[in-house]
């Protein structure tokens, strides 16, 4: 496994992060924006794990950070979906352009 350098794994996570950012910029639907955020969180997890494995092999801190990030992502997705369902009940739409009451 040492024939793949660390830089290539970091390239992969960078590309995944920016794919998620592209989705977040272009989508106007709340559920698809949430999916883009999940992709970005996953790329961060890949970074933590790769640094832990390649640079600090005698420690486990990167693994712990990934586990905590996965947990917080689960809580965040649940809260976000509750908010989206509530918004759909009041506005009959989950487009971010339709929810502008707090904007003006």
């Amino acid at each position: 496994m040492n024939e793949v350098p660390l830089t290539h794994i970091l390239f992969l996570s960078t590309a995944l992060f920016f794919i998620g950012a592209y989705g977040l910029f272009t989508r106007r639907n709340m559920i698809t924006m949430l999916m883009a955020i999940e992709l970005m969180l996953n790329s961060v997890n890949i970074n933590f794990v790769a640094f832990n494995k390649y640079l600090y092999a005698d420690k486990l801190d990167g693994i712990f950070f990934s586990i905590f990030i996965i947990t917080i992502a689960a809580a965040e997705a649940a809260v976000a979906i509750a908010i989206i369902i509530n918004l759909y009940r009041s506005h009959h739409s989950i487009d971010v352009e339709d929810a502008t009451e707090l904007k003006y």
């Binding site: 496994m1 024939e3 793949v4 660390l6 830089t7 290539h8 794994i9 390239f11 992969l12 960078t14 590309a15 995944l16 920016f18 794919i19 998620g20 950012a21 592209y22 272009t26 989508r27 106007r28 639907n29 559920i31 698809t32 949430l34 999916m35 992709l39 996953n42 890949i46 794990v49 832990n52 494995k53 390649y54 640079l55 092999a57 005698d58 486990l60 693994i63 712990f64 990934s66 586990i67 996965i70 947990t71 917080i72 992502a73 689960a74 809580a75 997705a77 649940a78 809260v79 979906i81 509750a82 908010i83 989206i84 369902i85 509530n86 759909y88 009940r89 009041s90 009959h92 989950i94």
Partner: protein, 179 residues
């Protein structure tokens, strides 16, 4: 190039391809299925890194939990067969440009950076070590974050129920007030 390296590049191409499809396809249900495949690819990457515990957590929480939650909310909120409207051309061009320049910038920095690779003992992950260090109060244990995360999860679950609960008296007149 050895078999392990070929596997890595195959997994990377799979993750990136399904990720791109997940953010660009215009049917929302297909987007969620592509996201599912991308997350499975990330679990495969953890298997490739020989982190079986993390791969199992990834499959259980993301594939089994979050994607199913997203699919349920798609069914509850929109007609899943409809195509979403196209993003504005200006917006997609500028976001693609900013994303490409940002990725190129960071990749250039990473390409030059001299990482001090660990050449000591090889990395091995034992689940018992994770458990011991997670519930330890000394030796850089993670007991306090663990308890905080459990409180956060409890608060998030109660908060979800409170937010998404249907109020009988307000449910009837809320749609009239909106927009």
């Amino acid at each position: 190039m050895s078999a392990a390296a070929i596997f890595f590049y195959l997994i990377a191409a799979f993750i990136l391809g399904t990720g791109i499809l997940a953010v660009t396809t215009r049917k929302i249900f297909r987007a969620s299925i592509w996201l599912l495949f991308s997350l499975i690819g990330i679990a495969a990457l953890y298997f490739w890194l020989k982190l079986e515990f993390l791969a199992a957590v990834q499959i259980i929480v993301y594939v089994g939990g979050i994607v199913v939650l997203i699919i349920f909310s798609i069914f509850l909120t929109i007609k899943s067969g409809d195509e979403m409207q196209k993003p504005l051309l200006v917006r997609s061009i500028f976001s693609a440009l900013s994303v490409i320049f940002g990725a190129a910038f960071i990749m250039k920095l990473l390409h030059k950076y001299p990482f001090k690779l660990n050449t000591g003992k090889p990395f091995e992950l034992k689940v018992s070590d994770i458990g011991t260090q997670m519930l330890d109060t000394k030796n850089f244990g993670y007991l306090l974050p663990f308890e905080l995360i459990s409180m956060l999860l409890l608060a998030a679950m109660i908060g979800c129920i409170v937010i998404a609960i249907k109020h009988k008296e307000t449910a009837n007149n809320l749609p009239n007030q909106s927009i």
